[in-house]
């Protein structure tokens, strides 16, 4: 008996070492077969539910047509935060991928701490044909999204999302409301109350992930600014009013839901909430899951004021260290921004194309946008896009965290929006000093 166990263990260990040995051999032969191709890594955050398949398709297509570059895509779980963690570990080990997706909230942190090459710099050095690529193909306000607080162009916007309002038309009708949803926040508040009174269900849920993206849209659309001249400035009258109105829905009328993001989305898709304010990137998920008459409308505005919607998603930064890799990286990046690739990206992910001419081009998204009415809610509000507030300096990430804690405080009703925002603003400005 004992001998048998020992034998089994030994055999298993042997197989294990053989198997892992095989793995290594494969890696070796792969490299030799590809000859002199420059191998570069592309880091992304796209899970299979969020365009992971499209990433692979784009990479495969690129590799098939490129003579001298071989791209390997690496998925990073836990979104941009997770990618940043991995990048941090990689940098600490003295290595770095060639192209990475960087979430907007990390714009300043990334540019302060990592070595990257501004795309225009690589272009000017080695690709004179592409000299005007950026300026010709991107709207200036979109390109500006990837400028850090010092005004440097850190990368190129890639995945662009904006917040939209998903509505459960069945519920709105049942409550006797306009089935096309509210146009302004003032209307939305009334809608939400009516739904609660008429149907007993929740009227509204605004996404509450580990960032303040949606809340920024609410505040800035009312005239507040998250950051002015490198200092937190959200606790202006406009900001406080907007936040308090939102908090009142949660605390006073209890028509809005205060819950974690996954659960809030689940509640909407289940038909327990009439209106959901979240990213356009959730479109496929909402569409696939909802059994009711669901639609997406553009983000509401405050009455008489212009909308200001922070861009979600990420930009692409080139972190390749040596020149060969940098050249390869640009080739790949340029490929990702071709009209066809951009169109595939939007179809696969639901992101809004950051590049001009993709939406209307025949080989672009023309037919896709005609079929997917929900996308229109996002594409039609691109002129309102503003940068996602990224607090400058090393304390920037902590500032963002403080703002998150504040959200919980305000929405739990333990403190008024005025008091909480003023306190936090002061705290953040002390940190940023």
């Amino acid at each position: 008996m004992k001998k048998n166990i020992l034998k089994a263990v030994a055999a298993a260990l042997m197989t294990a070492s053989l198997l892992t040995g095989c793995g290594n051999d494969n890696a070796g032969s792969e490299q030799s077969a590809q000859g002199d191709k420059v191998k570069i890594e592309y880091w992304h955050v796209n899970a299979e539910t969020q365009g992971g398949k499209t990433v692979q398709e784009l990479v495969d297509k690129f590799n098939a047509q490129s003579k001298d570059v071989e791209v390997v895509a690496r998925y990073n779980p836990d979104m941009y935060k997770g990618l940043m963690q991995n990048l941090q570990a990689e940098a600490a080990a003295g290595k770095s991928p060639a192209v990475v997706q960087v979430g907007w909230a990390f714009l300043d942190y990334f540019s302060n701490n990592f070595t990257y090459s501004a795309p225009q710099k690589i272009i000017d050095k080695d690709f004179s044909d592409d000299k005007n690529f950026l300026q010709d193909n991107f709207l200036p306000n979109v390109l500006d999204l990837a400028k850090n607080s010092k005004g440097d162009q850190v990368g190129i916007p890639y995945s662009l999302s904006t917040p939209v309002l998903y509505i459960n038309r069945d519920l709105l009708r049942q409550a006797g409301l306009d089935e096309n949803g509210p146009k302004t926040w003032e209307e939305l508040i009334k809608f939400s109350d009516t739904v609660k009174k008429q149907t007993g269900k929740y009227g509204f849920y605004m996404q509450e992930p580990a960032d303040n993206w949606a809340q920024q849209a609410l505040l800035e659309s009312n005239g507040a600014r998250m950051i002015t001249d490198g200092k937190a400035s959200f606790a202006s009258e406009d900001g406080i009013k907007a936040y308090q109105a939102y908090a009142d829905m949660v605390i006073k009328t209890k028509s809005a839901l205060h819950i974690s993001w996954d659960q809030g989305v689940q509640a909407f898709v289940n038909g327990d909430v009439a209106m959901l304010y979240t990213t356009i990137a959730q479109r496929a998920n909402v569409q696939k899951g909802a059994k009711f008459d669901v639609a997406a409308v553009s983000s509401p505005a405050w009455e008489g004021k212009p909308k200001k919607l922070p861009a979600g998603g990420c930009f692409l930064a080139i972190t390749a260290q040596d020149e060969k890799q940098q050249k390869a990286a640009w080739e790949f990046v340029k490929y990702l921004y071709s009209v066809e690739s951009m169109a595939a990206w939007t179809k696969g992910t639901g992101y809004v194309p950051p590049r001009k001419d993709v939406a209307d081009a025949e080989n672009g998204l023309k037919s896709f946008l005609e079929e997917n009415k929900m996308m229109k809610a996002a594409t039609s509000q691109m002129d309102s896009v503003v940068p996602w507030a990224s607090f400058p300096g090393d304390a920037g990430l902590q500032a963002e965290q403080l703002l998150l804690d504040t959200r919980d405080k305000i929405l739990s009703g333990s403190i008024s929006a005025r008091e909480a925002l003023t306190q936090t603003q002061e705290q953040i400005n002390n940190l940023l000093k």
Binding site: A92, N113, H258, I259, S260
Partner: protein
């Protein structure tokens, strides 16, 4: 006296063999535990974010900051609450269950044992996602079922206190089975005859439990006690990360999660290092106290 003498004879003086036996474990520890640890201790004196080329030496500043961190009291309080809840759910509850199954209910014992163990083979990531859905207070199955009975489930993920309870329940779901099986082994070590005799004397069940079973299986009990504290705190990390990210307003953060948040979300590497060194010292002190006071009362078979 005789025993003492024997013991002396027994323990071999051939230290070479002893070192050889420990060597493999020691080698692994040296590389993957002690070196990283020294490195962490070293980092705790610097202001650094892991990638800046320059580490700024700050002396004891990180430790000083630790004591003035306004979050620290809350995080420590949460940690204690987690430990208490985990002890009730994963130490006391399986003990009682093991007692019932060994001495009170005998039918279906094998079935119960197998079934209670099942969830412990499943990953906590899976468990956390599952519970996030099942316990969704608005539209999860638990809420739908409760609605039939006219009960509203509170929005626990945003309620202070309650959020810790739910996260502990998720963790319990995972570790209950293993603890139960181990305790069951210990409890059945208590001779049946003693229990039967006590039953015949009409001694109430709770008395049998506290006066006979508990003391006689205390060795197992202490082991589970320690493992619950140590592993429970590390295990609960996953549900916190998946379900609440420490929220609302840090109400569900514990020491382990806070270290992670400082080190890997805010990149305060030096500060997080200081925090982990402090946490380690704290746990070691707890362990020493435990050994000093509890170990003495343990019942060993020989």
């Amino acid at each position: 006296m005789r025993v003492m003498k024997n013991k002396k004879n027994l323990i071999t003086q051939n230290t070479m063999i002893a070192y050889m036996l420990i060597l493999p474990a020691l080698l692994v520890f040296a590389i993957f535990m002690f070196y990283p640890l020294f490195y962490t201790a070293y980092l705790s004196f610097f202001d650094w974010n892991m990638i800046k080329p320059l580490k700024v030496f700050v002396g004891l500043d990180n430790y000083k900051a630790l004591f003035s961190d306004p979050l620290m009291p809350l995080v420590i309080k949460n940690t204690v609450v987690y430990i208490l809840i985990l002890l009730i759910l994963n130490c006391a509850a399986p003990y009682i269950l093991a007692f019932i199954l060994s001495f009170v209910v005998k039918k279906g014992r094998g079935f119960y044992k197998g079934a209670f163990f099942l969830p412990s083979v499943i990953s906590l990531v899976v468990g956390s996602i599952l519970y996030l859905w099942i316990l969704n207070p608005v539209s999860g199955p638990a809420a739908v079922a409760a609605e039939f009975m006219g009960i509203n489930i509170p929005i626990w993920s945003k309620t202070q206190g309650l959020v810790i309870v739910v996260l502990s329940i998720i963790t319990t779901w995972k570790i209950f089975g293993y603890n139960f099986i181990v305790i069951f082994g210990g409890v059945t070590g208590v001779p049946q005859e003693i229990i039967e005799a006590a039953k015949i004397d009409n001694i109430p069940l709770y008395k049998i439990f506290f006066d006979i079973v508990l003391p006689m299986s205390s060795a197992t009990g202490v082991y589970i006690f320690i493992m619950t504290i140590v592993q429970g705190l590390q295990y609960v990390f996953t549900p916190i990360k998946v379900v609440t990210q420490g929220g609302p307003d840090n109400a569900s953060s514990n020491v382990i999660y806070d270290i992670y948040q400082e080190g890997f979300l805010l990149y305060h590497t030096g500060y997080a290092s200081a925090m982990s060194i402090a946490a380690m010292v704290l746990f070691v002190i707890l362990l020493v106290i435990e050994f000093r006071y509890v170990e003495k009362g343990i019942y060993y078979e020989n």
